[in-house]
């Protein structure tokens, strides 16, 4: 099953890629705020791609993803800070370090099923954060990291880093899509849908689950490396359990088991969060009679309410809606 099947799809893909990389050139979109947002989206997409592979395709819920991002981030940061390695040299080791840790936390999958395995990921989040807190003396205050360089160009502004972020995002997305349409992806889906049947068909469950963990955390590690070299600063507060949960929410809203869904979900949730961030203080200012913090509280209620209602109408996520839309379009003007 090829990724791009028709000429029309080729055209659309190339156009959208061109558009993507051309955004910083468009005057109205060329402001730091918007670009920063998009960079965040790109990094989140990378993280969520890995997560969707483990949770959406392979069916193992992982609520500790941001801890694995942290492992990659600190590995990359430390390699840069202590050994002076540049970003390009740090990226792969960062990913591998995350993958190694991910493999360790994937080992319990030999005995644990379903929600019990999820618990180990929660444990990963908590334990890894704790280890970082105590055993990497620099992490509480944070320490500085060099920006990305290529030749003479230093990518230290949103305007410039945008290209790096998008480059990685596109490459990682293509990797993911390609991986999932092959035997590995099918094995994952088999494990998700009926583990016993998969085993009976000769799929080595443990090996593939471990592989899923490794891929997921590798993506997290690469994203972490990107993150620290973008922020040029590494500290613990960027990697909390709330973030882990947001990532899961992103792929659920976007659609489990779907690469496009990951992108949709990240975009949707990012937009939602920006709404809280921007509108919150305004609301709080207007409604002075409510106690402190009420504004953000109100927004939380609304966002949560919107999200719950959304899930009520489309529990399979945005990707499903998109599939239905495509089917409708294909059949139009016939109904079925």
């Amino acid at each position: 099953m090829r990724i791009i099947k028709t000429k029309a799809q080729w055209v659309m893909s190339i156009l959208s890629l061109v558009l993507l990389f051309a955004i910083p050139q468009i005057p109205s979109l060329n402001n730091p705020y918007f670009l920063r947002l998009l960079i965040g989206v790109g990094i989140a997409v990378t993280i969520c791609l890995g997560l969707n592979i483990l949770t959406g395709y392979c069916g193992q819920l992982n609520i500790g993803q941001s801890a694995f991002v942290m492992v990659g981030a600190f590995t990359s940061a430390l390699l840069n800070y202590r050994l002076g390695w540049s970003f390009w040299v740090c990226v792969i080791p960062a990913g591998l370090a995350s993958a190694l840790v991910g493999a360790i936390f994937g080992i319990p999958s030999v005995r644990l099923r379903g929600l019990y395995l999820t618990l180990t990921t929660l444990g990963a989040q908590i334990i890894l954060t704790w280890i970082a807190l105590f055993y990497i003396p620099l992490t509480t205050a944070g320490f500085s990291v060099e920006p990305v360089r290529v030749g003479g160009i230093v990518f230290n502004t949103p305007h410039k880093f945008y290209y790096i972020a998008m480059l990685f995002t596109v490459v990682m997305t293509l990797f993911a899509k390609n991986m999932m349409r092959g035997g590995v992806g099918r094995a994952f889906v088999a494990i998700r849908d009926n583990e016993k049947a998969a085993e009976a068909m000769g799929i080595d469950i443990f090996r593939y689950k471990l592989l899923a963990f490794v891929i997921c955390t590798f993506y997290a590690g690469v994203a972490g490396s990107l993150l620290v070299h973008y922020m040029m600063w590494a500290h613990l507060e960027s990697f909390t359990i709330q973030d882990s949960i947001w990532y899961v929410v992103m792929i659920i809203v976007g659609g489990l088991g779907s690469i496009e869904g990951t992108i949709f979900g990240v975009l949707f949730i990012t937009a939602l969060k920006e709404l809280i961030f921007v509108v919150g203080p305004i609301v709080e200012g207007k409604l002075v009679f409510l106690p402190m913090g009420a504004g953000s509280g109100l927004l939380l209620v609304i966002i949560g309410g919107v999200a719950i209602t959304f899930l009520m109408f489309e529990p399979r996520g945005l990707a499903h809606r998109w599939t239905l839309f495509k089917a409708y379009y294909r059949l139009w003007p016939f109904g079925y």
Binding site: L115, V249, I308
Partner: protein, 290 residues
């Protein structure tokens, strides 16, 4: 020695509370396979409601309890009706996500009504204390422990020895099977959520009285979870043991390794236990017949 004693006591008391919250968690999971991520926030809401009656309106303890507990039941039922009922039959992940969003909504609600700063300190429930050897047990501590333990045993009794409890265990086995016997699964689920609401509220009240009434109370959810898992997600009795165990572990770890190590150590122990007992200490093994 005295230090150790203090640690054990505080561990057990906290553990009893974790166990109580964990039972609510287990109840919902057992009946509907849903991991209720908002359990900690239900605890928060219940605690704040109690605070309104006791500290703000200055009603006495018994009265406040008698009002708040039914309200906790109502809270559980409302949550089930409004958010979970429409999602019956939908993929499990979506339902679990809804509980996550629910946490946001409840946190927001609490912030709107009471703000984000900790609430005014409540005066202790009782005065006086008991001396056991060299250790001083305040009446408040004893009360919390006793109430939590009592509530847990009441719930276990309900589950094991009453008709309603049997129906709840039946629902845990299969919704369609119960429907075919004419039993209203919806009603049973609603009751389960109501009970979970009561457990959370009670836990919140007790915890709030020791830790203070602030937004951080919801993080107890993070500790009740390993308690429920260690005991076994299908086992309310296990939740008691799990809760006490986690309470002890957390207390010992924070006492000897520093405050922040309590939670992580619990999780390490949790993972170790699970490697040997994949279904928790008392969890029911899946009956697999091929």
């Amino acid at each position: 020695m005295e230090f150790f004693g203090k640690i054990v006591i505080s561990g057990l008391v906290n553990g009893a509370i974790y166990g109580l919250v964990a039972i609510g968690f287990v109840l919902i999971y057992k009946a509907s396979s849903v991991l209720n991520f908002s359990q900690g926030y239900m605890l928060l809401l219940g605690a704040y409601i109690f605070w309104v009656f006791k500290a703000s309106l200055k009603l006495d303890l018994l009265f406040s309890l008698l009002i708040t507990i039914p309200l906790g039941f109502l809270m559980g039922i409302l949550i089930e009706r409004l958010t979970l009922r429409p999602l019956i039959g939908q993929p499990l992940v979506s339902i679990i996500t809804v509980t996550i969003f629910l946490s946001l909504v409840i946190e927001g609600l609490v912030s709107i009504i009471w703000g984000t700063y900790p609430l005014q300190q409540m005066s202790p429930f009782f005065r006086g204390s008991l001396r056991v050897g060299k250790i001083n047990l305040t009446s408040g501590t004893l009360f919390a422990f006793g109430l939590a333990l009592g509530a847990m045993f009441a719930l276990i009794f309900l589950f094991r020895y009453t008709r309603l409890g049997l129906a709840m265990r039946g629902v845990a086995e299969g919704h369609q099977i119960m429907q075919s016997m004419g039993i209203s699964v919806k009603r049973i689920l609603t009751i389960c959520w109501g009970i979970a609401g009561v457990a959370a509220t009670l836990g919140g009240i007790l915890l709030g009285s020791t830790l203070g009434f602030q937004l951080g109370l919801s993080y107890i959810g993070l500790l009740a979870i390993p308690a429920a898992f260690i005991g076994g997600l299908d086992s309310p009795e296990g939740a008691i043991v799990g809760g006490l165990l986690i309470g002890l572990i957390e207390s010992i770890a924070s006492g000897y390794f520093g405050k922040a190590s309590g939670v992580p150590t619990s999780y390490v122990i949790l993972i170790v236990v699970m490697l040997f007992r994949p279904y928790g200490l008392f969890g029911l093994r899946g009956i697999e017949r091929i």
